[in-house]
């Protein structure tokens, strides 16, 4: 059996993390293809529904990338995202989707290297803990 390749849905803010991913690309910093990027205008526009839907459809992890506090293009969208993530984490945790699968990280436009590090770290971590329990349940059913 081939190695488990996690599917990680990533919502990256247009102004910082998405640009960092671009920078990582132009700097030839390779990061795992497990990260599937969805560009959003702000981490603050990531509706909890997007995250729930991703998990329900079998994502092994969800990564939200936003601007560092104080750097938000829309002043405070990232701070709203942080509260929402804290809230959603509590709900998901009850049903077996822990903090190890649902990440929020601040990655500035200039931090291409950090993007690579976070992508590597998250992919490794999820490879270690295995497929999402939702996926395994759905396959068993």
């Amino acid at each position: 059996m081939s190695e488990f390749e996690p599917q990680i849905v990533a919502f990256f803010c247009n102004w910082c993390t998405f640009t960092a991913a671009d920078l990582a690309g132009t700097s030839r910093l390779a990061y795992p293809p497990n990260i599937k990027i969805v560009r959003v205008m702000c981490s603050g526009m990531v509706d909890p529904k997007y995250v729930i839907k991703a998990f329900l459809n079998g994502a092994d992890g969800v990564l939200i990338g936003g601007c560092w506090p104080g750097d938000c293009h829309y002043i405070n969208g990232n701070l709203k995202a942080r509260r929402r993530v804290a809230h959603l984490t509590e709900i998901l945790k009850q049903y077996g989707i822990g903090e190890d699968r649902f990440w929020l990280r601040w990655i500035a436009a200039s931090e291409g290297t950090m993007l690579q590090e976070v992508a590597n770290e998250m992919t490794e971590k999820i490879k270690a803990i295995g497929p999402s329990p939702i996926k395994t349940q759905q396959e068993a059913a």
Binding site: P48, K49, I52, K53, F55, L56, W68, P69, G70, N76, L79, K80, R82, R83, R84, V85, A86, H87, L88, T89, E90, I91, K93, Q94, Y95, G96, I97, W103, L104, R105, W106, P133, I134, Q137, Q138, A141
Partner: protein
């Protein structure tokens, strides 16, 4: 500021004594209208907006049934100022939901007189009507409940009520107290300045003592708290995966009654009935092809989880969702559980105080650092 007046009533005359108080409020023009549960010609008990002091005879606020959470009704009465003063006779869960609606700018307490009634719990609607047929009255229920029994004829109060640790509303102008009251009496407590003026208009002295209320309340709350802790632990242990949640919600038919009946489901238009969820046949077929089959209607767990994220911080545990469910889905504990973990995270309690900001409406630079774990 709290003061108490004991009112005695003869057998079968509790509502008559209460009606006198409401009549006084209308006659003295303390308020222009009173929303209070009243007996309807058909025998049901529904909230009724009374403006004529001569028409208070049918009041029955302590009938152990809540067909609709009054929070939504109070919202429709007060969201836009009517220029009239309205007294609202409500239970603790309804007031707590109303407080959340006020914070969401969907209700306004400026011109209201909040009259909170002690609550021992309510029956499911059909249970109540059946019990009523066999002779249950507000008085007989209250007497039994004061003695510690809520069940009669094999029927008991709802699950939500049996784990409700808020039988008394913290927010009110006046409280109609029955917990710890002597047989054949109830106690009117004024809590605020508005309340004090109102009880003097009612002709009450406010010079009595609280009696055994504090102790009786403590015992009741402790028992309810223990019942909640037990159900919560049970829920957390049993429904701890998406699969278990799916099974719990398996009988759901996406009728959305739970969100219609929910007093704090605040969206003007629910996203689940918008075009976002109105898919073409082609789309459904595409999804079906992934696994070879697709349960329809779709998005059931998705809907319930979305509601958990929307109302997790506001859920007051009234249990109207369960009552409205045509298929007996265990919603109460699912939502109380979501409420518990959400509200604990933000040290918030739905309906506790008008002065506490709702968790997702405030945010600070230097908080919740543990979410990202990153420090610059």
């Amino acid at each position: 500021m709290s003061n108490f007046t004991t009112v005695s009533y003869k057998k079968d005359e509790l509502n008559k004594e209460l009606a006198k108080l409401f009549t006084a409020l209308l006659e003295q023009k303390t308020v222009d209208g009173i929303m209070v549960p009243c007996r309807q010609p058909s025998g049901t008990v529904m909230q009724t907006l009374i403006t004529d002091p001569a028409q208070t005879a049918q009041v029955d606020p302590f009938a152990p049934v809540v067909p609709v959470s009054s929070a939504k009704l109070a919202s429709s009465l007060t969201a836009k100022p009517s220029g009239k003063k309205i007294a609202l006779v409500m239970r603790s869960c309804e007031i707590r939901a109303l407080i959340e609606l006020v914070k969401l700018n969907q209700a306004n307490l400026d011109d209201t007189l909040l009259i909170a009634q002690d609550c021992f719990g309510r029956f499911e609607n059909n249970d109540f009507y059946a019990l009523q047929e066999s002779g249950l009255t507000a008085e007989s229920f209250l007497q039994a409940a004061q003695g510690g029994t809520t069940a009669t004829d094999g029927k008991d109060i709802t699950e939500a009520c049996s784990v409700c640790e808020h039988p008394v509303s913290a927010n009110a102008d006046i409280r109609l107290c029955l917990i710890g009251a002597d047989a054949g009496t109830f106690v009117v407590e004024s809590v605020s300045e508005k309340g004090e003026k109102a009880i003097s208009d009612m002709g009450l002295s406010g010079s009595d003592s609280e009696g055994k209320r504090a102790d009786a309340l403590k015992t009741l709350v402790a028992a309810r708290q223990e019942a909640f802790n037990q159900k919560f632990t049970e829920y957390q242990e049993n429904i701890n995966s998406f699969q278990a949640l799916e099974e719990n919600m398996a009988k759901c038919v996406n009728c959305y009654n739970c969100r219609v009946s929910c007093p704090v489901c605040y969206c003007k238009e629910c996203v689940f009935v918008t075009d976002t969820f109105r898919h073409d046949g082609e789309q459904f077929l595409g999804w079906a092809q992934h696994k070879g089959n697709l349960k329809m209607p779709t998005d059931t767990v998705f809907y319930h989880m979305t509601r958990m994220t929307h109302i997790g911080n506001f859920c007051v545990g009234c249990g109207q969702c369960t009552s409205a469910c045509p298929n007996d889905v265990n919603l109460t504990m699912a939502f109380r559980s979501a409420a518990k973990v959400s509200q604990d995270r933000f040290d918030y309690e739905a309906g506790r105080s008008l002065d506490e900001a709702q968790p997702l409406t405030v945010f600070h630079d230097d908080e919740l650092v543990e979410v990202t774990g990153q420090v610059k």
